[in-house]
Amino acid sequence: MDRVTQHNNQQAQRKAAMAVLAHAEAGEIAARLRDFSLPAHQDLRAPENGLVMLRGRVGGDGAPFNLGEATVSRAAVRLASGEVGFGYTLGRDGEKARLIALCDALVQSRDFGGAVERDVIAPLREQLMIRREQAAAETAATKVDFYTMVRGEG
């Protein structure tokens, strides 16, 4: 595998992990990390709260416009082995941003990448899917089944 492909693969993997972690509570991530033998790491950027302007598109698919802002927390963590992880999440939970950053650093690590996917990301993804399936099933029950009333004799 060439380096570009490798880089793209890792980026896709990091993004997929972040997509799961952003939906989890800080406590859920922390609980998954509790049994994990974490390597030495330090805050590269202490958690910080700020705003991101959320954008929509005219007509849903046209030119972008500014819809309104959202609170966002972010942090960065560096492993002793050098990997730098970033954490971004909606809301103001700095600890959650830090935990996401830590996981992002672990995902990039040769030694811990597999374990963090298996012990942290995969179980959280499964929980998220269960919640989504439940919501989808509740929604599906409210779908209208039209039928035609037949009057008189055919």
Partner: protein, 367 residues
């Protein structure tokens, strides 16, 4: 004459103390929690987020609690709060086509791909007060059904395939996105600024404006092409990370209004459209927004613009309830000096009037 007014400090302090006491109400009644507000008064939270222009359920719930349920006051609090945080940047535009739909209805087509999905709605309720809700109500578990994975394309995309509806305007290369929180508003304003203004505009104002178009003040013959509510993913291109980072999901309501068609010697006739988008489940808001968005396109579409809803300066200058409440409510602050000068002028005018209209005898006597 300059009159210094002092002495209000203690009264103000005690008034705020009294307010805090009134806000808490009868202390033998349990205090309402932010979770309770967020979970059980969810649509109030949605409105405060939309018009406060800040997506944060917990902050909106706190604002509602602090404002004693006065939603415009809560919106004011949220707007003030957002000024305290730095802005990291702007998100990638959200894809409402990829929404995890919780509700989706169309009044234009019965059989839309993905179906008519009612979701949690007040529609078709009888609007009878329900005494069972007064205390200790435990709802039934929601029904469930096989959730199909059939995509739910936007109705406007379906119409667009056959060219029956105008396509959405695309951004020009390198065009920046207008932001009325950063630059003062100038007229005429582009559609991006108009939509931003409407998205944070007062629901009641937009409702009245949208309603006025239906009643004939700038009629544009609308159909609710589609209303959808659900979750969309948000991504943010963080420079330090080097790719678009998933931030999580937000709830949005989108309304696609399909309006009267236009055409010309060179262009085949097609439906026109108005657009509404807001945080949370905000159906009335997005429908009104879409009606007003379409009305404000009058000039662009070569229509006569005579009605208030078609006047962008009028609409955009009066839609913001924080600005409006600021100016209306400032009238109750001390205007003693202004008023004294008016009073002085009025007395002078009255004196002149009395003299001018005095009986001739008096005038003569005076001379």
């Amino acid at each position: 004459m300059y009159v210094a007014v002092k002495g209000g400090e203690r009264a103000i302090e005690n008034a705020h103390r009294l307010l805090a006491h009134k806000r808490r109400g009868d202390q033998s009644v349990p205090e309402v929690t932010l979770d309770q507000i967020s979970e059980q008064l969810g649509l109030a939270v949605d409105r405060v987020m939309s018009e406060g222009s800040l997506y944060d359920r917990e902050l909106a719930a706190l604002a509602i609690k602090q404002a004693r349920g006065d939603l415009i006051e809560a919106i004011f609090l949220v707007r003030a709060f957002r000024a305290t945080l730095p802005r990291f940047g702007a998100s990638e535009p959200v894809d409402t086509g990829a929404m995890r739909v919780r509700r989706r209805v169309s009044s234009t087509f019965k059989d839309i791909p993905g179906g008519q999905i009612l979701g949690p709605t007040f529609d078709y309720t009888h609007r009878l007060l329900d005494p069972a809700l007064a205390q200790g109500f435990v709802p039934e578990m929601p029904a469930t059904a096989d959730s199909s994975t059939a995509p739910t394309p936007r109705v406007t995309d379906i119409l667009g395939r056959d060219g029956l509806i105008e396509s959405s305007p695309q951004a020009e290369d390198g065009a920046s996105v207008g932001d009325l929180t950063r630059e003062p508003l100038n007229f005429p304003a582009d559609r991006d600024l108009r939509l931003q203004n409407l998205a944070r505009g007062d629901e009641g104002f937009l409702l009245a404006m949208g309603y006025s178009t239906q009643r004939g003040y700038g009629r544009n013959h609308p159909f609710a092409g589609e209303i959808r509510f659900g979750e969309v993913e948000v991504e943010f291109s963080a420079e330090d990370v080097g790719f678009a980072v998933p931030l999580g999901a937000i709830e949005l309501t989108e309304c696609q209004m399909v309006n009267q068609f236009k055409g010309s010697a060179t262009e085949a006739p097609c439906f026109t459209r108005g657009y509404g988008l807001a945080f949370g489940q905000s159906e009335r808001k997005t429908m009104s927004m879409a009606l007003v968005d379409r009305a404000l396109r009058a000039r662009e579409l070569g229509e006569e613009a005579l009605a208030p809803a078609q006047d962008e300066e009028f609409v955009m200058s009066h839609s913001d309830n924080v600005q409006a409440t600021g100016f209306v409510e400032h009238l109750k602050l001390p205007h003693y000096v202004d008023f004294q000068s008016e009073l002085g002028l009025l007395r002078k005018l009255r004196k002149e009037f009395a003299e001018a209209n005095a009986p001739d005898a008096m005038k003569e006597a005076a001379e």
